[in-house]
């Protein structure tokens, strides 16, 4: 982990200059497509401003000159075929001139062939998961902004970071100058994966895979947010992409592959209860605390876990609800067997509950069927 963090620090300087510079207009384009979009927009705005000035120039001239108060008498004309044909045809011609370059960009955007790296981006309520399909590892990328910076109901929130709501536990890392194909899909509801600086936005639809692509031209860190309403924490699932040089990316991949091997839970390991509780606490904080709160007290539509019938009832039903969700609660199929065993054990033996039992990962695996 130290390695990417050092890289992150190195990337911080350029990140400040062009990741969040967009305040009035687009973020500085970092890909060919984003630049095309920006140019297209500038050209259309120029046409619009000219038309606007011409049309409203005429209107305001009329408003100032043809007033009853200044004694202007109305002239009772009500049609003129030449003028009417002209103001139908001229806009049509202007539209064709606008449509031509736009169509070329559409075709370029849609051309996802010949990608050199393919990454699957999966939307979850409410974070992103990235799987490097070519390299056999993946990770979850969650909001890193602490809740005490966000929640300000009692006017006691902490000072907000520069990248408030735009920082994640672990960014998507891609090499510079490489055509990266993103396969977007979702685990629960529709999300949308987008990075404005890359000119990329693709809805992540459960049950379907849709693709898009980008080719970053500069190293740095670039930030976006989920752009399709996906429930409670829609505003709290940013997308952060770190662009590295090809060499550094290769090193990072090697590192991640090693880590993945080392960190993989042995699915056959037999856990003792206290180990599960300790592991479950981290799983709980990362996934459950947003709704059920760190102390299990719940709030609003989200029930308390402390003293809840499910957390104190039969363990099979408890595992069942975590796996399949209920009402506003999403299904947590995306967690590993070990993580589910740990979090269920934690919920039953902490947060004010003391049922005393626990469950092994292999039993969770059986419960999935």
């Amino acid at each position: 982990m130290r390695f990417p963090r050092a890289l992150g620090l190195a990337a911080l300087l350029p990140a400040c200059t062009y990741a969040i510079d967009g305040k009035y207009t687009f973020q500085t384009p970092q890909t060919l497509i984003a630049r095309d979009i920006s140019d297209l927009h500038a050209w259309i705005m120029a046409v619009i401003v000219v038309i606007f000035i011409a049309v409203f120039g005429v209107m305001f001239y009329s408003i100032f000159k043809h007033r009853k108060a200044s004694g202007h008498k109305a002239r009772h004309f009500h049609e003129n075929t030449t003028v009417e044909v002209l103001w139908t045809l001229i806009p049509a011609v202007i539209l064709v001139i606008m449509a031509w370059p736009a169509a070329k960009v559409v075709l370029a955007q849609k051309d996802t062939r010949d990608a050199e790296l393919t990454i699957k981006a999966t939307g979850y309520q409410w974070f992103w998961g990235y799987d490097y399909l070519d390299h056999g590892f993946g990770f979850k990328s969650k909001l890193a902004t602490p809740r005490n910076q966000i929640e300000d109901y009692h006017r006691d929130s902490k000072q907000k970071d520069a990248h408030y709501l735009l920082e994640v536990t672990e960014p998507l890392v891609v090499p510079v100058g490489t055509k990266v194909r993103i396969l977007a899909t979702s685990n629960d509801v529709i999300h949308s994966w987008g990075v404005p600086a890359f000119g990329v936005k693709q809805d992540a639809i459960p049950g379907f895979i849709r693709d898009t692509w980008f080719k970053a031209e500069k190293e740095g860190t670039f930030r976006g947010q989920c752009v399709e309403l996906c429930g409670r924490d829609h505003g709290f699932m940013p997308i952060v992409v770190q662009v590295l040089s090809k060499d550094k990316f290769a090193a990072w991949v090697e590192q991640k592959q090693k880590e993945a091997k080392a960190a993989a839970d042995d699915p056959n390991k037999v856990w003792v209860r206290d180990e599960l509780i300790a592991r479950g606490k981290t799983v709980y904080e990362a996934n459950c605390a947003a709704c059920h709160k760190s102390d299990g007290a719940g709030g609003g539509a989200f029930p308390a876990l402390t003293g809840s019938k499910i957390a104190n009832g039969p363990i099979a039903a408890h595992v069942g609800i975590v796996l399949s969700g209920k009402g506003a609660m999403p299904a947590w199929q995306g967690l590993s067997d070990t993580e589910i065993a740990a979090v269920v054990t934690y919920e039953r033996n902490a947060l004010g509950n003391s049922v005393g039992d626990f469950i092994q990962p292999k039993d969770v695996k059986a419960a999935r069927k």
Partner: protein, 551 residues
């Protein structure tokens, strides 16, 4: 037209049949609550619609202020995120179905019979029912805030699978949408039949007021698409409760199918809220320019073309779902094409003003404000129609800015203009011009302060429907929130002005307070008596007005 006279006869027959049933309340009108609950008179029902719409405008407006309060500064100050989502959802549904659409139906109810020389709407009792479905459906939406799990929180678009997750608030919203759709369909049937069958002698289709034309086309659009929405939400309901999988991928369904169905309704819906506004503005501008409407025929054709094109552009709301390139191109081209007839309309309005003898009473101010700001909304629509640019703008505040320019500065401003224009006819009194002008300028300024900065927020990438935002969006959000509260406050002036007018205003209104108005509603006294045009207007009266309009 003798044909038109003949078609009036059965209606008069129907009226005579009813007369004995009416004895107790028809001519010595029933009073108290019975007048309103049993209302069959188009003016009473129109009044009910308008007050209902204004009430919903206030309710939806308060929700908007709830949204803007939370967005005043970064961080969560007032609401939990899920309640914030409920506010955005209900604000949308209430403003679209509760405020704008009933307001236009109310205007059509009040004005169409008067403008066409008809004694009432074609189906007076259905008219009563279509209004009285509205309060219960509005109530369902309000109640849904208090049920376990709260109101629907998936946005007014109700996209599944998110909308499958909510509690019974969602079911109440679905049922409410069903009732609202039923009400719209009945209201539309009434408008179609009234416009087609009950015009005064001599008033052919191509000579009737533009407001009648746009109401007619709007009614057809509604009859076509309201059932589509009803179908979409019914499929949601069965997915939620009866084990179907229309939109659930796990059972072989497709979440995107809902979006196609919804927007097949949703895009014509945009024009359902815009076309009547075009009609109103086409009545007001000639009246205050003291000059006939320029290009009446092209106006009618433009209205029809917009209506037809509106069925072929729905997927421009879905450029980011990942459609094939050919679909992106098709929907982009069709969408851009709508700029042509819309442009024709704007040019016609300006040509109507050109060489006129203009005065700027409040209705005219709102009409000119409409033309300016609706065009801004049209231009941002053109920007959004370009599919690659939409990649950046989709689901950002740019879209929010765009549709509020079209719906607030468009539909709402036209409604304000209409109210000021016809208030003397409704109440028999003149409104305070000073207060009216203040209301206009106040709304104009704060509207722009609220919504113009949202273009910049969208360009910079701020997603819509988020309760909290990164720090670089702070300045414009704060500005927009200040604007929204001022805009909202200004509407109380409007309410006061209307009540003041009902109670006597600044003096009695003549039958026709405007120099340049020549449509039939100005031939009856002010206030319009409870029953008007019980016999069709004389041919000469109709021809005189049409001649003034050069029709």
């Amino acid at each position: 037209m003798t044909a038109a006279t003949e078609t009036l006869n059965p209606i008069q027959g129907g009226h005579a049949d009813e007369a004995h049933g009416h004895d107790d309340h028809g001519h010595h009108a029933s009073t108290g609550w019975r007048r309103w609950v049993y209302a069959t008179n188009h003016k009473d029902i129109g009044t009910l619609y308008l007050w209902f719409a204004f009430t919903m405008f206030i309710v939806g407006g308060l929700m908007a202020l709830g949204i803007r309060a939370e967005l005043f500064t970064p961080g969560l100050q007032f609401w939990q995120p899920e309640f914030f989502n409920q506010l955005t959802t209900l604000h949308g549904i209430i403003m679209v179905f509760g405020a704008i659409m009933p307001a236009f139906t109310g205007l059509a109810n009040w004005m169409l019979p008067l403008m066409l020389g008809a004694p009432d709407m074609a189906f007076a009792r259905m008219n009563n029912w279509s209004f009285w479905l509205l309060p219960p459906s509005a109530l369902l939406l309000v109640i849904s805030l208090f049920v376990p799990g709260g109101a629907a929180a998936g946005g007014w678009t109700l996209y599944p699978p998110l909308s499958l997750q909510f509690g019974m608030g969602m079911d109440l919203a679905i049922f409410s949408v069903h009732l609202l759709g039923l009400s719209s369909i009945m209201g539309s049937i009434n408008i179609v039949v009234t416009v087609l069958n009950m015009r005064a002698p001599g008033m052919t289709l191509m000579r009737m007021p533009m407001f009648a034309w746009t109401s007619l086309v709007t009614a057809y659009l509604l009859i076509a698409v309201a059932p589509v929405l009803a179908g979409a939400v019914t499929m949601l309901l069965t997915d939620r409760h009866f084990g179907t999988h229309f939109f659930k991928a796990v059972g072989g369904g497709d979440p995107v199918l809902f979006q196609h169905i919804f927007w097949f309704f949703g895009h014509p819906e945009v024009y359902i809220m815009a076309l009547p506004a075009f009609g109103i503005v086409s009545q007001i501008i000639p009246a205050f320019a003291r000059k006939p409407l320029f290009g009446y025929h092209s106006m009618v054709y433009a209205t029809a073309s917009i209506a037809i094109l509106s069925f072929m552009v729905w997927a421009h709301h879905m450029f980011s779902v990942g459609m094939p390139a050919t679909a992106q191109l098709f929907f982009m081209f069709m969408t851009m094409l709508i700029a042509v007839p819309t442009g024709v309309k704007v040019f016609n309005w300006i040509a109507t003003m050109w060489q006129g003898s203009m005065s700027f009473e409040t209705p005219m101010l709102f009409a000119v404000g409409f033309v300016c700001l609706f065009t801004v909304g049209g231009f941002s629509g053109l920007v959004l129609s370009i599919a690659p640019v939409d990649t950046q703008m989709h689901d950002t505040y740019y879209v929010v800015a765009h549709f509020h320019y079209v719906l607030v500065a468009g539909a709402l401003f036209s409604l304000f203009g209409a109210v000021y224009y016809w208030l003397p006819k409704w109440t028999g009194y003149m409104y305070s011009e000073r207060m009216g002008k203040f209301h206009f300028w106040w709304s104009m300024i704060w509207f722009n302060v609220t919504f113009f900065p949202m273009h910049f927020l969208g360009l910079a990438g701020m997603p819509r429907r988020i309760p909290d935002y990164p720090l670089q969006f702070t300045d414009f959000n704060t500005l927009a929130s200040v604007g929204a509260f001022c805009f909202g406050l200004g509407q109380l002036i409007f309410l006061y002005n209307v009540i003041h007018t009902i109670r006597g205003g600044v003096g009695k209104a003549p039958a026709n307070p405007w120099e340049g108005s020549h449509t039939l509603e100005w031939e009856v006294p002010s206030p319009a008596p409870h029953h008007t045009w019980e016999t069709p207007p004389a041919r000469e009266v109709v021809e005189k007005g049409l001649k003034e309009q050069l029709l």
